[in-house]
Symmetry: C2
Subunit: 662 residues, 2 copies
Amino acid sequence: MPHMPKILQTLIIEHVEPELDGGRYPIKRIAGENLEITADIFKEGHDTIGAVLRYKARGARDWAETPMHHVDNDRWAGTFLLSENTRYLYSVSAYIRTFETWRIELSKKHGVLADLSSELLEGEAQVKEAMGRAKGPDKSELKLWLEKWQSAPDQEARITIALDPILATLVGLHEQRAAWSSYEKELEVIVDRERARYGAWYEIFPRSEGTVPGIGGTFKDCEKRLPAIRDMGFDVLYLTPIHPIGETNRKGRNNSLKANPGEPGSPWAIGSRHGGHDAVEPALGTLQDFDHFQQAVRKQGMEIALDFAINATPDHPYVTQHPDWFKQRPDGTIKYAENPPKKYEDIYGFDFYSDAWQGIWEEMKRVLLFWIQHGVKIFRVDNPHTKPVVFWEWLIREIQLEHPDVIFLAEAFTRPKMMRVLAKAGYTQSYTYFTWRNSKQEMIEYLTELTQTDMKDFFRPNFFPNTPDILPEVLQQAGRPAFKFRVVLAGTLSPTYGIYNSYELCENRAIPGTEEYQDSEKYEIRHWDWDRPGNIRDYITTLNRIRRDNPALHLFTNLRFYQAENDHILFYGKKSPDGSNIILVVVNMDPYTTHEARLTIPIEEFGIGEHDTYQVHELIQDYRHQVVGREYWIRLNPQEEPAAIFTLRKHVRRENDFDYFL
Amino acid sequence: MPHMPKILQTLIIEHVEPELDGGRYPIKRIAGENLEITADIFKEGHDTIGAVLRYKARGARDWAETPMHHVDNDRWAGTFLLSENTRYLYSVSAYIRTFETWRIELSKKHGVLADLSSELLEGEAQVKEAMGRAKGPDKSELKLWLEKWQSAPDQEARITIALDPILATLVGLHEQRAAWSSYEKELEVIVDRERARYGAWYEIFPRSEGTVPGIGGTFKDCEKRLPAIRDMGFDVLYLTPIHPIGETNRKGRNNSLKANPGEPGSPWAIGSRHGGHDAVEPALGTLQDFDHFQQAVRKQGMEIALDFAINATPDHPYVTQHPDWFKQRPDGTIKYAENPPKKYEDIYGFDFYSDAWQGIWEEMKRVLLFWIQHGVKIFRVDNPHTKPVVFWEWLIREIQLEHPDVIFLAEAFTRPKMMRVLAKAGYTQSYTYFTWRNSKQEMIEYLTELTQTDMKDFFRPNFFPNTPDILPEVLQQAGRPAFKFRVVLAGTLSPTYGIYNSYELCENRAIPGTEEYQDSEKYEIRHWDWDRPGNIRDYITTLNRIRRDNPALHLFTNLRFYQAENDHILFYGKKSPDGSNIILVVVNMDPYTTHEARLTIPIEEFGIGEHDTYQVHELIQDYRHQVVGREYWIRLNPQEEPAAIFTLRKHVRRENDFDYFL
């Protein structure tokens, strides 16, 4: 504000919420949701003011507006519907309601001051002005009001007309909005489709879907397994990279430095004489086979997530076509990817600081568009925290402006601020620290951060209890009970969760002292026996069915923790916005020991009176109890059932709820 | 970030603090203070990074910079000295430390990987690059290092040289700062002179300084009273308006609608045939008399604060010269100032929404500059919340860019968000709700908001226990004990406070049911007997001496509340930054009843051990106690002493503190 302004915008509009980092980054929502915007709005003096929330979808020419209302203490609120899967801009404007200001002053003076003739002249002029701006029937109606006013026999009669609320509404619609002032920023909201918030993921190595030992699976083999995956209740089938795998320095079994002949290498080592990021590993089939598979997945009501890993083997076509995309060392070699002293000898990292960085950016965009053409709308991005954040910000925006239905999942397991800024820069979903949060207290703290701080506006978690890189200690050590309660946590705390296959088999053999799987699929072809004894396929199927049936579990920020008088028993719940669906989850976080606890059910949150009878229905084992009051005792033996998922029904049906009663 | 950037700025710099409303408004500090800036700074990957805080005084051509250091969890901090009374800009930049990154990688690989020849070639190239950029002795030194490196007999010897920290420092000084990235905003800090934060104000109606009953005082009379005011220990002498008072609709005694002949009218009714805002009421003297008086005030070590009230009587020259600055009504009259149904018949408000608003702005600036030419550097602004905030933002900046030593006090007693935005828009100091905070809990809550929220960065309170408009109930009802403890609260909670004269006389006659003074000076000439029985001049003199002697009381955000086990006993303290001055204040907030309490002195904050003996010295009554431990009992009889101010001395002197011991 260094110079005298050209136009006088006198209304203060500040503390607009939500607003992320002063508007530097967009917030995120889901199509079909209402977005409520609040702001402090006020001005000097005593004028009556009005405020509107303005918004438009990206690309729309005109702003729409909806009125805001005063809440309390100069705080205003307004809401609009995010009807489309696109990006919207929103902002706030406010103005003086001249006639309403005058009307209120008149009513205050009326009966106190005797002569209001000058005041009435002012009001009459305002009605005239509004009439001049009005059109059609409103103009005629204002004309009638004015005639009535002017022909009124005395001051009292004029005042009665002047204070008529119908006249006020009519003038308010047409008068000039005085001192029109706008918030200085246009804020953005990314409006995703529902799958961005809610879905169950299943991760596979397509080459492990074969049925003949020693021979890798193909897309055709994958297709055969789709009904089984669908029957478990998954929505997204996430494929580890499907591109040609390099031969130079190919890794062998259990990440050994050299592969033996016939070993398939890591699918993240992308690029061979068969092509690079826009090609398919020949052992899996052709691009046409992929297209067919992709359509088969859609037909099963699921969709594919593809891995997007910006690595290149020495055999990748990029290496010869674009040597300037890689870091040349003084001795003429290209620098391998490394995290000193670890070296990844089978891949080169891209040099995002080379002079040719813009070429890399454009090519990565081309690669994504290529797969989008082939029906892929979800990308799980490998190690985004090792590439510049500004690159992702540009790339995701570029893609989503054309294809707003594309979803990006950030596979970053790194420091908290980098996790957050990747989400702010545009990632639709993020991997999380869930995998390492083991105690009740840790879980409450972490989930409170995710759901109750500003992270709720931009960071959407995707909870994986395992990944091909992470077999956490609790699963290694505690086995089946841990596999059960960790998947219940993942699938009920977060509306989006996933498992890496073999989880349902409770596969827990690790390389000692690490979180790496023994005989990891990353480096060899596996064949799994999906009916292996001890598997929890039915359990996961039940969990996914419960998730699907209960809309409260499709949301995240509705999570609330409740009191359980035991340090190992975690108790939380979710409620659908209309209150009709209530889910309560109780988990024994100790996979070794039976624990019991007195739970305090927050009946007042659910509109249940202290003396009302309500029903809790446990959905995993399908039992029911009738309860009165807040208190509920639970005992969880991890060897039997480490977790319970209740739906709470407020009203036990009575005789007069049935037709035959009437 | 819609388009591909031109330059690659990859480092993330965010959550810079302090930053007010996303940089929309400046923060405030005092010349001579250090400003600490913190920020989250990080980037993708594993590079070692560096960061600098950049700053420059307004008008300076070049940015200075000072290094920031990593604190914890990607949080960085840096500090610079605000040496001048001006406005500074500050921002943050960060970059990759290429050679340090390489050195750390080398040291990680050393001993793990056998062949580091390629790595060493990289490092050598970097040393060469730095040498190419260096000049003078550094260049020669780098040349010597390079020769040593190149002539080293084997890899181990080269590694020893490469890892030498002296070489690292030298290369770091001259290498290119890679991926240089800057925070997108330049933030501003208003750096005021010390009087903006610390000072004692004394408010008078100059016309009441006469000595002959019935005859108004002049500037010459005022001059005679200066030694007495100085002796009480005041720093700022605040004069109610000194301009010619209108005659049309002049108000009479006790705000009666019509003045009798000879009644002087309200000094806020500005403008007569003798002139307007740049003139002096003839009854007070001439402009030359004012100048003389102003200099006399300076000679006493005080300075004048002038009232700045944007009102005009019907007799003000503006009314004829600039009729378009006032609101013309349809009947041809000008609209009086009003707050319906109240009317202020002696003044017109300016119409800041007239087409000629820019003329009003410029004229108000001219008026302020006029008084600044006459030595006035402090303005107490009347009712700023009835004029557009953008006007104040422009006006204060315009004035302070030329005259950074000018102080503006906002006399707004209005809704909280307007109070705050006036301070954000530039007001140096603000009146507060202190006057109406009566209970211990209210006081703790309000002061916590002022000192511990973001208000600490922009809102500087000036605590007045009374004003000509406000004689609060507690003073009306409780008399002398209340006058004592309210002034102790004002003068020790806030480093800036003030009283309206007659406070020291415990004048408490109100118009019943209001906060208005009986026979208010606003409407008549008063003559005060400054030696009136029951006065607390000595008490206030003592308070001001204690304030002056104790630097802890010159600060505000160092305020901390401590535990006193009685709901009426307020206990708080302040510590000077170096810890050498510690003040503890205990106040009985109930002026009617004796209360006692066990206090918990937070000795650990003061570096006192549990078994150490320390001294508390009460400064109003001048008594001392020796204390061991946290516990201290106090009993406060409001009829005797409602408050105690202790200084705490950590170390009772021992034999070896004296010369003769040695």
